[in-house]
């Protein structure tokens, strides 16, 4: 389905995840972050978003364990930066699919 956000029409699934990463840009990410209650994205947020996109492009499945070994952020910070379901929220903002792993 389609969704209009910050003046742009994007394709999303029924949970609001982008289905086409080419439609993603930074202003869109910021708008989704506002919707998700994350607020203004800091450089640390952006580091994580780029890391997630990189993993997605390499088809590496994401998990909290991967995050802890990423060298980008530790788990405590990750939860602090993206409260209430960090990997879900960060993935949504990064424009990639919702992670499926249970770990």
């Amino acid at each position: 389905m389609q969704k209009v956000i910050s003046g742009k029409t994007i394709n999303v699934n029924d949970e609001g995840y982008l289905t086409d990463l080419t439609q993603w840009d930074k202003s869109l990410a910021q708008a989704i972050a506002q919707e998700e209650g994350i607020g203004e994205l800091t450089p640390k947020h952006w580091d994580i978003i780029h890391y997630l996109q990189e993993q997605f492009k390499q088809e590496i499945p994401l998990s909290i364990r991967k995050i802890s070994k990423s060298g980008v952020v530790n788990i405590e910070e990750f939860y602090a930066l993206f409260p209430q379901g960090p990997l879900k929220k960060a993935s949504k903002i990064a424009g990639i699919p919702k992670p499926v792993s249970c770990i």
């Binding site: 409260p83 990997l87 879900k88 770990i103």
Partner: protein, 160 residues
């Protein structure tokens, strides 16, 4: 948060066993809760204490006897070494799925904000000192104290 619509907000998990599959079930449930923005606490009691016992947590086994789903005849399952074989097979499969070992999993749970409680009565029963337990535990408490932590709308308790 505004109106309560029945969603799960907090999982209070009681782990009473120390077979690998039970420990992982409890850990995955707790971690999965945190990943969804749900609070999680684990109460380690009876044999579940082994999962936070520094000397034991690296040597948990899966049970080959009394577990029909293993599809090993009980007599064979009881032979020396069978548990070790089944356990090492399971660990290999878990490694393929990128599952952490018990100690690393405890670190992940701790960092994710899962509260870890040891049962006082079970510790006394098994003569376990606090120093023997994983350093990240939040405390040693009674059943009553654990219940008192399970307040608030949307709290669920689960016995593993």
């Amino acid at each position: 948060m505004s109106e309560y619509t029945g969603e799960v907000r907090k999982m209070m998990i009681i782990l009473s066993k120390a077979t690998m599959e039970n420990v992982y079930a409890a850990f995955i449930l707790a971690n999965g809760a945190r990943m969804e923005g749900i609070e999680a606490e684990i109460f380690f009691t009876f044999f579940g204490l082994e999962a936070i016992n520094k000397n034991k947590l690296g040597h948990l086994h899966t049970a080959t006897v009394g577990n029909p789903a293993m599809h090993i005849p009980t007599l064979l399952g009881g032979l020396p070494g069978m548990e070790a074989i089944a356990t090492s097979m399971m660990k290999k499969e878990m490694e393929k799925l990128d599952m952490p070992d018990v100690l690393e999993f405890l670190d992940i749970l701790k960092a994710s904000g899962v509260k870890l409680w040891a049962c006082r009565l079970a510790m006394e029963m098994f003569h376990i000192q606090k120093e023997e337990l994983y350093n990240g535990i939040n405390g040693v408490i009674s059943v009553g104290e654990f219940y008192n932590k399970g307040t608030g709308l949307g709290t669920h308790m689960l016995f593993v």
